[in-house]
């Protein structure tokens, strides 16, 4: 009569299963949505492979990115093609340098440029936008008018200007990218802050006697994170694009450092001589990075944007 009933066991398991009852945070929700997004997850995997390649790739390199292969540099077209035997897995560039090492270095540069540019935009833009939006009034209108003015200037030209004037180096490049990338971010953050500021929980915090910095750090910033992360992730490919464009023109970082834009430019310059691999390898890495970045950004937006539930 009190024999084992599978149904009863199931019910008992259901009752003691607290995971079903436990509240789900917004972040957990967003995480689940992102994990379910096939395109975004595939992109994360591909991008992870590229990062892995950049980290581990140099261990397999038989030539450094500065070394010139004197034996083959006279006949790049005939002997410089990609091959395992010569140790030049991606072939030689026009000057007889190992393209494998150079592509790794260029990919690393481009990834760094994207991450650091977006990170700078994230920090500066968020700080600026929160201050303008939270304190409001005249301060807000002055700060935002300034942003409007800067936004009306073609930013790539400003980037070129800064690089030419301050000298072409890694540091200048990052500062210049940071200087132009935060503008739109600050506008978005300001708009969000303005709406958050009037919400009940902020009012409750005020009534409870939380200090203004406390409100900003404990209540406003955490609520901004979703929007900020989405926009920053969309900024990464934009930064990579901008840097590649400038490098293509020959105004980016200088030799022996290189970036994907520079390598594509070099490959494009020599493609008439039948050395197509010089164009195709950097182009492949470039296109892959940009497309995966956009899919990840889109995935994050779908996951974090409460409007599109």
């Amino acid at each position: 009569m009190f024999g084992k009933s599978e149904r009863a066991e199931e019910l008992a398991a259901d009752i003691t299963d607290f995971t079903a009852v436990r509240g789900r945070s917004l972040w957990r929700d967003a995480m689940d949505r992102f994990l379910r997004n096939k395109a975004a997850m595939a992109s994360v995997v591909v991008l992870g492979l590229i990062v892995l390649f950049v980290l581990i790739g140099p261990l397999f390199a038989q030539w450094s990115n500065e070394e010139i292969d004197w034996n083959r540099m006279g006949d790049i077209r005939g002997q410089g093609m990609p091959s395992i035997e010569t140790g030049h897995y991606f072939g030689l560039d026009d000057l007889g340098r190992d393209l494998y090492s150079r592509v790794i270095q260029a990919t690393r540069t481009s990834l760094l440029v994207g991450l650091i540019g977006a990170a700078m935009a994230l920090v500066v833009g968020t700080a600026y936008g929160v201050i303008a939006g939270f304190y409001g009034g005249r301060l807000d209108s002055i700060m935002m008018r300034f942003v409007d003015i800067l936004l009306a200037i073609p930013l790539t030209l400003v980037l070129i200007l800064i690089l030419v004037i301050a000298g072409r180096s890694f540091t200048t490049l990052f500062i210049a990218l940071g200087a132009v990338s935060w503008l739109t971010m600050s506008r978005i953050v300001r708009g969000q802050t303005l709406t958050l500021k009037t919400r009940e929980f902020i009012e409750a915090a005020r009534a409870g006697g939380v200090s203004e910095p406390g409100i900003i750090f404990r209540h406003i910033l955490p609520n901004l994170m979703g929007v900020v992360i989405v926009y920053a992730s969309l900024l990464v490919p934009e930064m990579i694009l901008a840097e590649s464009f400038i490098s293509f023109l020959g105004l980016g970082i200088s030799e022996p450092m290189t970036s994907l834009g520079r390598l594509i430019a070099e490959g494009a310059g020599t493609m008439a001589y039948g050395t197509l691999w010089q164009l195709l390898f950097p182009l492949f890495f470039y296109v892959t990075i940009i497309i995966t970045m956009f899919f990840i950004g889109d995935g994050l937006r779908d996951a974090l944007d409460p409007k599109d539930r």
């Binding site: 003015i149 009306a152 073609p154 030209l157 200007l161 590649s244 594509i264 494009a268």
Partner: protein, 307 residues
């Protein structure tokens, strides 16, 4: 509306002023200059040259002269590199070329992009739709400087149909590749924005009403759906114009069209600040004007916006 236009114009003035002053000071604080060379000039000669270009004056005086010359005479001063040419000559020579294919690219991107987006939304989930969507995704990875080499590789090296560069008075063969290279990525983006906007509009109540009262599909689309569809597209057109301007720097360089971008990059490399400054100000001014035009078009398209 008039008050709005005037207010916008009043904002445009400090924008341009800030642009000029900021670039001016940036350039004058830079170490080295157009006359620094490996073989240093005798100090007397250098002093003479600097006097010729007014570089011996105090900085505020230089700035004031520069500003008044631009405002009163539309004169950007002499080039530091080319002794017989001033910045106005360089602009007059290069700008019409950049403007020609730039506006063609802008028109191509808008017209083709919008048509494609509308077609994709009407024929939702057909091959047209898939094509527009894939173009929109590819667009993000195919900016002008990627399209350029791809086009030359295909049409010049493999097929041999088109000349690989040059201008030749703007003959169509010389225009095709610059226009395609410049417009593809924006075309894709415009198509994407139009498509999603149109899909949203087609699901709205007033379209359902228009359909319910028996209007033919053609009228529903042209008379009712198109205008609200275009609103987000129009706000994207301003930025597109700016991208086309900066993109033209690449096209000039890569296709050797002789446009303004070539002078811009070479002046950046030789530190010919006068040219660099002049072109930056010209492009900045154009941007301000186009942004204004975009906002006005937006106001005209959206009756809800009143100023």
């Amino acid at each position: 509306m008039t008050a709005y236009i005037i207010r916008r114009l009043l904002i445009a003035i400090p924008t341009l002023l800030l642009l000029v002053v900021a670039s001016f000071f940036l350039m004058h604080t830079a170490p080295g200059g157009p006359f620094t060379s490996e073989r240093p000039l005798p100090p007397e000669v250098l002093a003479n040259i600097e006097a010729r270009y007014g570089l011996d004056q105090p900085l505020w005086k230089q700035l004031w002269d520069y500003l008044t010359n631009i405002v009163l005479h539309f004169d950007f001063g002499p080039s530091f590199r080319f002794k017989d040419r001033d910045v106005n000559d360089i602009i007059a020579q290069g700008f019409p070329i950049s403007l020609t294919y730039g506006s063609l690219a802008f028109i191509a991107a808008s017209v083709v992009g919008i048509s494609l987006g509308v077609a994709a939304a009407i024929r939702h989930n057909t091959w047209i739709d898939y094509f527009a969507v894939s173009l929109g995704i590819a667009a993000q990875a195919l900016p002008n400087f990627i399209m350029g080499p791809i086009l030359i590789l295909t049409f010049t090296l493999w097929l041999g149909w088109l000349p690989g560069g040059g201008w030749n008075g703007g003959q169509w063969q010389y225009l095709v590749m610059p226009v395609i290279a410049l417009s593809t990525s924006y075309m894709g983006n415009i198509a994407r924005i139009t498509r999603s906007s149109m899909l949203e509009v087609m699901n709205s109540n007033f379209i359902r009403t228009a359909r319910a009262k028996g209007l033919p599909a053609r009228t529903v689309i042209w008379r009712h759906a198109l205008k609200p569809t275009l609103l987000p597209v129009i706000s994207y057109l301003g930025p597109v114009f700016v991208y086309v301007l900066t993109g033209s720097v690449f096209v000039d360089l890569y296709f050797s069209t002789g446009g303004l971008g070539q002078s811009y990059v070479s002046s950046a490399l030789t530190r010919d600040y006068a040219v660099l400054l002049g072109v930056t100000i010209l492009y900045g001014g154009l941007t301000v004007v186009v942004n204004l035009a975009t906002d006005l078009a937006y106001a005209w398209f959206d009756p809800k916006i009143r100023y």
